[in-house]
């Protein structure tokens, strides 16, 4: 009789545990950021141009190594208003027609990154970048810093504008903007 009572207690505890875990939202185990910082920098002898965007969305799945970014293109802020107009215009990024740029890829050296242990890891990335209506294969490198429940990603890459059919044929912008621009990513993710 006593044993029966004990068993009932165990069953109850297990049942309670199941109910409780199903009630609380199960964590997806994915790292999410909704305010990553992407900046770009273009250098020519005539002028240096830079722009900043603090509203980039990104996810990293530590189990599969999948990495995604979505960049709201009109959120890039320039020092000069005229540059911002040129950048958004149909001649350049055409942000009304293409309001977002996307990156979708995978960490290729996932086994070298331990998301459970604090530290800075070198990450290699392979994927596809979509700017305007052009999708290109890219390989990137960056660092992932694990600190408790959050991670920070730092990466730098170069984008050749002509690859994405972004080019000025003539006029001032064609001489003032470099053919390739340096893109810097800094993102702090928290686990969901």
């Amino acid at each position: 009789m006593k044993k029966r009572m004990k068993n009932a207690g165990i069953y109850f505890a297990i049942l309670a545990a199941i109910v409780l875990t199903s009630l609380s939202a199960p964590p997806s185990g994915k790292y999410v950021t909704k305010s990553a910082h992407i900046s770009f920098f273009s250098h020519t002898d005539i002028e240096d141009i830079s722009a900043n965007n603090y509203a980039v969305i990104g996810t990293i799945d530590p189990a599969s190594g999948d990495v995604s970014f979505s960049v709201p293109m009109q959120s890039f802020e320039f020092e000069k208003a005229l540059m911002q107009k040129h950048y958004n215009s149909p001649d350049f990024m055409d942000t009304k027609v293409y309001p977002k740029s996307k990156f979708k890829g995978t960490i290729t050296n996932l086994s070298e990154i331990n998301f459970d242990k604090d530290g800075t890891y070198h990450a290699k990335l392979e994927g596809e970048m979509t700017i305007k209506d052009v999708t290109k294969k890219v390989t990137e490198a960056g660092t992932i810093t694990v600190q408790g429940n959050s991670i920070t990603v730092d990466a730098k890459t170069v984008i050749v504008l002509a690859d994405y059919h972004v080019a000025f044929e003539k006029g001032k912008p064609s001489t003032n903007i470099a053919k390739s621009v340096e893109v810097t990513v800094k993102a702090k993710y928290v686990i969901e």
């Binding site: 909704k34 990553a36 910082h37 509203a55 969305i57 999948d66 979505s70 009109q74």
Partner: protein, 156 residues
């Protein structure tokens, strides 16, 4: 006579040069649009803005975005879900109904930042700002992207 022609040519040339330089300086130092001093184009609730984008993204982009980035200035009313800071130290007020998966993220700026600090979760607020992008579901991210409003300040 000859001297007179020379004088006039020189004068026209100087005036032309002054005009060219002023036009150049005007464009070079053209100020950014001051969102908060301009009139509101559209008043809407955060829920309606999101559902407009989810039901017909193309029509919504056509309505809200402008091709040189001078997109619509909107006054969006909604429920404060969270208040946090971005990497530029600007407050981001997230307007979202508690049971919804998607909302509107409103980024403040240096001059208005402190106004957002006192906002509390759960309170109703109307925020004015310029729309940068709409709400949509993204398969690769496997989550809903919120609508984004920037250069914000609190209307009421």
């Amino acid at each position: 006579m000859k001297r007179k022609i020379l004088k006039w040519t020189l004068l026209v040339f100087i005036l032309g040069a002054i005009a060219a330089v002023s036009i150049f300086l005007y464009y070079w130092y053209m100020p950014h649009r001051d969102i908060q001093s301009l009139p509101v184009d559209i008043e809407i609730t955060s829920e309606d803005l999101v559902s407009e984008y989810l039901s017909d993204p193309a029509a919504a982009n056509q309505k809200y975005l402008q091709e040189e980035g001078d997109s619509k200035i909107i006054a969006v009313t909604g429920n404060v879900f969270s208040v946090e800071k971005d990497m530029n130290n600007q407050y981001v007020v997230y307007l979202k109904e508690p049971e919804s998966e998607v909302g509107v993220r409103c980024t403040f700026m240096t001059s208005t930042n402190e106004n957002a600090a006192s906002l509390k979760t759960g309170q109703d607020v109307t925020i004015k700002g310029v729309i940068r992008s709409g709400a949509e579901y993204d398969e690769d991210l496997d989550l809903y992207e919120d609508a984004i409003i920037e250069k914000c300040d609190i209307l009421k």
